[in-house]
Amino acid sequence: MKTIYMDYSATTPMKPEVIEVMTDAFKHHYGNASSIHHIGQEAKVLLQQAREQVAQLIGAEAREIFFTAGGTESDNWAIQIALETKPGKHIITTNVEHHAVLHPLEALEKKGYRVTYLPVDEYGMVTPEQVEEAIEEDTILISVMYINNEIGSINPVEQIAEVAAKHGILFHTDGVQALGNTPIDMSTNKISMMSMSSHKIYGPKGVGALYIRKGVRTVPLIHGGAQERKVRAGTENIPGILGFAKAAELAGASLDQHIEKLSRLRDKLRDGIMNNISDAKYNGHPVLRHPGNVNICFKYIEGESLLLLLDMKGICASSGSACTSGSLDPSHVLMNIGLTHEIAHGSLRLTLGDFTTEQDVDTVIEEIKPIVERLREMSPLTE
């Protein structure tokens, strides 16, 4: 059975060009970039090129890119930077952030910090005005995600960055889902820090970066050797970084087509499902949206069952149901956009990417209806 992968927001398959760069690096560029000999120095040169490639994708300077082990580490680090370089005990964020932002902040609350979790609107978005109103005397950081990973809505981060800059407060955005899926230009905005992750843009796992605007004071989260200009210790993962850079280069070269193609397939998928199946709710913003994200709640059924039956047809998807989130409640994102438990449990996230075909979309539209019907027949909620 053919696999139809529609879980690109969870992680992407790697592009063949990326795999090629990495296997080449595995064989030929194994050096430690801190070493003086030629094997080390070659690695160092490649590292710098990679930094430039990643910088280019977001209109940044190479020295504003600091490589990490992924989006989660970048999020944690950005918070740590605010903590250690700014006096103050208050942080502003939203109630639909990724756990990589929420959980470190919750840990801080236990240590005496105050965190304002801004409520979002029905699309999962906040406004610059909301952010401004929440600012207090001792606010040290505003962190608002760029694109929501579950429902795909795009926040007005550039305007929020303006607000933060006006008040002299650091502004961090979790850009993990935004990178390669929307144009980002650091040379024209005021974002202080942005988290990125390679495995969401067809690069390898275990690599990411934190953009830190020049002038922003930096401290390490991971202490040790003098790598990454002394603020992120650990032998540089050169093959991984080169893979990330290649993925960034490819993403930059085809960003417009990527967005155009995915948006079209996304809307086709949405329409195909919404026109065919009743008692369904489309989540997230209709327009200001991740180009590959479709998120729909089907009444009367539970998400995990839906995923399992889809999987039997080779279709890979995800859900914010309690059962898949491994917790008591459905995902905090679905709850915080105001869904009831009843609806939220039946959520389905289909995320498209560069290997998604028209045929894939047609197949999913076709397969999903009988599956939903079958589960509804089994459900005590359908009357």
């Binding site: 009367y300 539970e302 995990e304 399992l308 409640d329 009831t340 009843e342 449990h345 089994m378 909620l381």
Partner: protein
């Protein structure tokens, strides 16, 4: 995630459906946690044997599989026998569930009890195993635990 037996019962659930004019009907679980299980029984009044059983479940794969296997285990048994079946038996019969899904087997046990209780109440029957049973306690203990 799930073993073959669980997947089989999820993919091909036995005894799905409703029984019109059921002798007993029980529903447990709640929407908040995302599992609701309803069981219908037809019981021979003289022999007390469960002749027919059907279920409807809203829930994850293991909730469906637990319902399915529980109905299979109970079918043809007397009510007293059926009441002896615990979530541990359901688990054993399924060949195990992931830690965070154990509560689904508890739900199945409770759904059976609730349906029998309904039958007993309506038909003026008394069962030792239901002595301390109260439908309000139904809400299964919902500690999803830690993932393995």
């Amino acid at each position: 995630m799930y073993n073959q037996k669980v997947m089989d019962h999820f993919m091909n659930p036995r005894n799905v459906g409703e029984i019109e004019n059921a002798d007993g009907m029980g529903e447990v679980g709640n929407l908040r946690c995302g599992d609701i299980m309803r069981i219908y029984l037809k019981i021979d009044p003289t022999s007390d044997v469960i002749n027919e059983i059907k279920f409807k479940t809203f829930g994850c794969g293991s909730a469906v599989a637990s319902s399915s296997i529980a109905t299979e285990m109970i079918k043809g048994k007397t009510v007293e026998e059926a009441l002896q079946i615990t979530n541990k038996d359901v688990l054993r019969e399924l060949g195990g569930l992931p830690t965070i899904k154990i509560h689904c087997s508890v739900l199945a046990e409770q759904a059976v009890k609730a349906a029998v209780y309904d039958y007993a109440t309506k038909h003026g029957k008394h069962y030792a195993a239901l002595e301390n049973y109260s439908p309000e306690d139904d809400d299964h203990d919902h500690d999803h635990g830690e993932e393995d």
